[in-house]
């Protein structure tokens, strides 16, 4: 029972809701960059939200099913075909043995998810089936998929015709607000530097992957100081510290980088702010060129937003439980 990879697409990998709890020893959470869409793909095919799915980025893979099963495609907007016939996204659909799944050209967003009834049953490592490609473990043999790979899947049957309507789907505008909590090192910026960070949009560059998202825009101004022992000579350097997932570092004061779910766990760049967890899926769906405004919120507001996001997922799940 499985899925054969005929063409892998671009950096296509197996992801679930991640591997939290090991960042302190250098292992990032990994998991789908759009956790919400990945969870809902599972719900459509009758899986638990945390089961493993296929994450494709920008360009779709070409897959063949070796047995009948039920699938759903969520996330970024892209035409989806079975044997050349278009099928809807955000809806569970049955497939037969030897059916071939292909994709058209991406319309909006960046990452899309294929869930299969029973999930992709690669081995769990540290409690997760997510791929961490830099660490060469998790997912399918610790790497992105290649032609000829045969993925194990769970079940041959599942619910067909479950639909998630548009009000519950993410949107992919070309200009977005991303909420951040300032710090820990925002005090290193001058007032002019801080307003440059917050008052004008940043443009997502093509350098955007599971590790980090780099933006272009204005240069930030740092406060003068004598660099402390152990810090690099550039004003954007600090004595090495742990990097939160979602933290924004600005090497050299140009081109902020948002660290995402495969990021390294620490280093010597000042983190001027951290994207709130509720907005990380939004960041994960940004295509190059997306204009991004960083909007400061308090920690209480960040936690409230996290609660609203979790409630939204539970509300959709409850339709079928």
């Amino acid at each position: 029972m499985g899925i054969e990879i005929i063409e892998p697409g671009l950096a296509t990998s197996i992801q679930d809701q991640g591997r939290p709890g090991y960042y302190s020893v250098g292992i990032p959470p990994s998991g789908a960059l759009d956790l919400y869409s990945a969870a809902l793909a599972n719900v459509l095919v009758g899986n638990l939200p945390a089961m493993a799915v296929i994450e494709a980025t920008y360009m779709g893979p070409k897959l063949r099913f070796t047995t009948p099963t039920v699938i759903a495609v969520t996330g970024a907007q892209i035409p989806v075909q079975i044997n050349g016939q278009e099928i809807p996204q955000w809806e569970s659909v049955s497939v037969n043995a030897d059916d071939v799944l292909t994709f058209g050209i991406l319309q909006a967003g960046a990452r899309f998810y294929v869930a299969v009834a029973g999930g992709i049953t690669v081995p769990e490592i540290l409690g997760s089936r997510s791929t961490y490609a830099l660490g060469a473990f998790g997912g399918f043999e610790g790497r992105s998929l290649k032609s000829g790979d045969l993925l194990p899947v769970g079940m041959e049957s599942g619910p067909v015709g479950r639909i998630i309507t548009s009000e519950w789907r993410p949107e992919f505008p070309r200009e977005i607000d991303v909420r951040v909590v300032l710090g820990l090192y925002d005090y290193r910026l001058t007032d002019v530097g801080l307003s440059a960070l917050l008052d004008k949009p940043w443009k997502l560059s093509p350098v955007a992957d599971r590790i980090g998202f780099r933006y272009s825009g204005q240069k930030l101004e740092w406060r003068d100081r004598v660099q402390p022992f152990g810090a690099g000579s550039d004003p954007s350097n600090i004595v090495d510290a742990g990097y939160p997932v979602g933290s924004i570092q600005v090497p050299g004061g140009v081109e902020p980088i948002i660290l995402h779910r495969d990021a390294v766990s620490g280093g010597g760049y000042a983190m001027v702010a951290t994207v709130i967890s509720a907005d990380m899926s939004l960041v994960g769906q940004c295509a190059p060129g997306t204009m991004t405004n960083f909007k400061p919120v308090t920690l209480d507001e960040a936690l409230a937003a996290r609660g609203i996001g979790q409630q939204r997922l539970r509300t959709v799940q409850a339709k079928w439980s």
Partner: protein, 82 residues
């Protein structure tokens, strides 16, 4: 005579040469087959080859080398027989 637009299947930085010191894959006026590589798109430290997708003669490039392009953007136009 027809026309075929070669569309970008993915976003990224477009290149017309396999590497900076090599010749361009194709030039205007060249005759190509569907499998001819006409350029590269770089994204996430990977290079994807862009194929012509149809047989014909290249009549224009709609983007410049090193431009940032989006999915669905027209890269080049072919004149085809059909």
């Amino acid at each position: 005579m027809g026309a075929h637009e070669i569309q970008a299947p993915l976003p990224g930085v477009f290149y017309r040469r396999p590497s900076p010191d090599q010749d361009e894959y194709v030039a205007i006026g060249d005759v190509v087959t569907p499998d001819t590589t006409i350029g590269l798109v770089e994204i996430m430290k990977q290079y994807a080859e862009i194929k012509a997708g149809a047989a014909g003669k290249i009549i224009s490039f709609e983007v410049q080398a090193e431009d940032i392009i989006g999915p669905g953007d027209v890269i080049a136009v072919l004149e085809t027989d059909s």
